[in-house]
Amino acid sequence: MISPDQLPRVLHQAADRPLTLAQHEEAFGPMPPSAPSLEQLEASGLTGRGGAGFPTWRKAKLIRELRGHNKFVIVNAMEGEPAAHKDRTLISANPHLVLDGAEHLAGIVGAKHIAVCVSRDNPVMVNHLQRAIHERDRRSMRGATFELHTPPWRYVAGEESALVHWLDDNESLPQYRPRRPHILRIGHAPVLLDNAETCAHVGLIGRYGGDWFRRLGTPSSPGSTLVSVTGAVARPTVLEVALGTPLHSILERAGADLDPQALLMGGYGGAWLDARHLDAPYTNDALGPLESTVGAGVIIVLPRSGCGIVETQRIARWMANESARQCGPCAFGLPAIAEDLAHLAFDARDAAAAYERLLDRCGAIEGRGACRHPDGVVRLVRSALRVFAAHVEDHVRGQSCVASRSTHHYTSVPTLEREEELIWE
């Protein structure tokens, strides 16, 4: 049993090699004979850790109340955010905790199959999960069966409808879902999809209960969460922190620049946060009014020497390339936005016009895609224009920006692939 006030929780006893099943059961206690009740899950107040922050129990309740003998639980360990490393860290530390949680969720909703999805571009994770599933299969024949799936790595492939569509039809493309909440299905079978970290927390709740879980965090956002801190840090790290920890103490623990210019919160579809707000607690409740978000647990630290517009432009260009090119506003709008940002950043003669175009296009694109990919980019760009407003002014007036000529950047963006080289299936 882990003491309730102790951190780390899901990274308990993390070493360079993932825990074996025996080590895992020694560290966390044996797997309880039955899954936790839905009430336990509700009492814990766990919200999804994949970005949207939807209460996990409500999702489980929705699927539990549906008919169907072949329900699926999907563990989403795709980790589409290039700046996020939490799922990789978690699965390299303790894959069995994630699988425990998935088994608990399968017990709650009555699922027969558990599909663990991890990108094929990360063979280490695939290996760890393969081993872990094999270990469990040898031990017991009861309960839901595990299967491992390896879709290609794309930013939108981890989006829930794209992942389900991949399992259904071998294409990682997001689907149009006009009505929410939308029940995802594989064939006719309802699907419960949760992030790998969420599953790990469910694994803990199943062992120790909802009240144990609430001992860390704030009353409205209980528990702990994994944060990937990159950018101006001594070394990129994944930390487990209690929700509600002030941002500056997270930066301190990560060994980051303590006097940054801004933070990019949530991931590449997230929002910049001005460094004035470093005292804000790390919860969605506190960051929401500041128009920022916890998102997928990403914090990118931008030091005073960096140029926020150039960083945003790099991200937007890559995000535009990662569009599935299904919806017109996303396929044409995102490259246009990236182009405008490039003009704003590098082309002093066109900067003022590009700024106006950017505002128009952000308004025109928002909410018009089948998935939230374009909305994420719009949110990122709008937050950049707001947070770096003074610096945008400099660019529009054509004043030289030293940082924009530098080749050193703080956001890591994968190399752009040509459109015909993008693999979707």
Partner: protein
């Protein structure tokens, strides 16, 4: 059939994946649909009262005229 109740409103919805930007809807329902710079429809999001027969008819034309069958009319009941 009886008398149709003309309370409530409707919205015109587009499936952005199906839509290929033919632009017929902007011709057929100019009050509800305008085009963005790439030729894809921007549809008014607030419900239109069903009593607005002209708008409803033009929306129906747009739905039937869409070559990709990407448009749909959805009734919204909570509109006054």
């Amino acid at each position: 059939m009886g008398v149709r109740r003309r309370t409530g409103g409707f919205v015109l919805l587009v499936n952005p994946i199906l839509c290929d930007g033919f632009g017929h809807c902007a011709e057929l329902a100019p009050d509800l649909v305008r085009m963005d710079e790439w030729g894809y429809p921007i549809i008014t999001t607030e419900p239109v009262p069903l009593a607005n027969l002209a708008a409803l008819e033009s929306a129906r034309y747009a739905v039937r005229g869409c070559p990709r069958q990407a448009l749909r009319i959805e009734r919204v009941s909570d509109h006054p």
